[in-house]
């Protein structure tokens, strides 16, 4: 029987549709990432750690919530690896668990002001909550 780590890796590869073995470790995804300075693990490291199966540290990292889904890494990767899709799949692995939502209704009153567009709230919910 497969261990839990292998199952998680399989799920991430299926959900993202990414072939991590295409990565040639050039680092362009991280070089172009607007969240680079905020991240503990950077886009190229997400790809590498999923490939090697060392996923546990990613599941615990705040870096999951620093991806802006801006797709800069997706469009600029010379090998078409699409790192943002890997980050999203790892994040879903976490937030789909009971009680692991990053954003809850209780968090909202503190962050809203008169001008905040509905779009900001629905987008944050879609990315951080299941």
């Amino acid at each position: 029987m497969k261990d839990k780590n292998e199952l998680i890796k399989e799920q991430i590869l299926y959900q993202s549709g990414v072939n991590v073995r295409k990565c040639m470790r050039c680092g362009k995804c991280s070089g172009t990432c607007p969240g680079y300075d905020e991240m503990e693990y950077h886009p190229h490291q997400f790809v590498y750690l999923v490939e090697t199966g060392d996923i546990e540290p990613l599941l615990k990292s705040e870096s999951l919530y620093k991806c802006l889904s801006c797709f800069a890494c997706v469009d600029r990767c010379p090998r078409g690896v699409e790192p943002a899709k890997i980050i999203e799949a790892v994040r879903l692995t976490v937030i789909r668990q009971q009680g692991k939502n990053k954003l809850t209704p209780d968090d909202i009153p503190a962050v809203i002001d008169d001008d905040i567009p509905q779009q900001a709230l629905v987008s944050a919910y879609r990315k951080f909550t299941r």
Binding site: S16, P34, C70, E88, A89, P117, A120, R126, F128
Partner: protein, 261 residues
Amino acid sequence: MKFIYYPGCTLKNKAKNFDIDARNCAKILGFELIEVDDFQCCGGVFTTSADEIATKLSAVRALKAAKKAGLPLVTVCSACHNVIKQTDHAMKNDPVFADRVNGYINDGDDYHGETKVYHYLEVLRDITGFDKVKEKVKYPLDMNVGAYYGCLMLRPGAVMETDDPENPQIMEQLIKTLGGRPVDYGMKNECCGGYVTVTDPGFAQKRSKAVYESAKKAGAEIIVTACPLCRYNLTKNGADIPVLYFTQLMAKALIGEKNER
């Protein structure tokens, strides 16, 4: 020419002027926008996970409404445009996804990407033509304008096909058409921080500041965008030049500051 029009949630609330000016300018330019009946929010962002169906159904319903009417679908908000285009692309090219969605909706009219989707800017460029827009300009703009694209309108480039994602020109073309002077700057296609403004406002502030500082340094007197979240982030995080929707800029030139607004 007629279009099915998908305004989206924010244009009915915090970005009403984005919507009103889109409609007023369409009247002047001679195309008709028919709002989708009972449209649902697109969700703001496209979820890339292969097993997610529910988060994409509202986009499919909008696409199906346009298919039923036999008309193209037009959006103005970058976020709606991104979600609808990416969903349409998946319905067209991912048979497993399309089969699951069609099976879930199961209304006897399966959808496989039949609807043509336009961003309002693409209608101006590809259908109306900027030369025709120019004929309607009553109050030419006399200012330096920084076009801000952000991420959603352009990427992923292979799906969006709006413009060259690394050197987009469609808003610059509109600015020139309206008599303004577009300024080029490095951050025009980089992210404003987006939805992390909700969970990590300090991070969004850094990204937004990098964008408006870059535009100002290049000489922009105002910034125009097609995204309510970009506008909010830039304005909230200290942009000391006005940040307007591109439809507001158009209304300034076609209608003037006070008339019928």
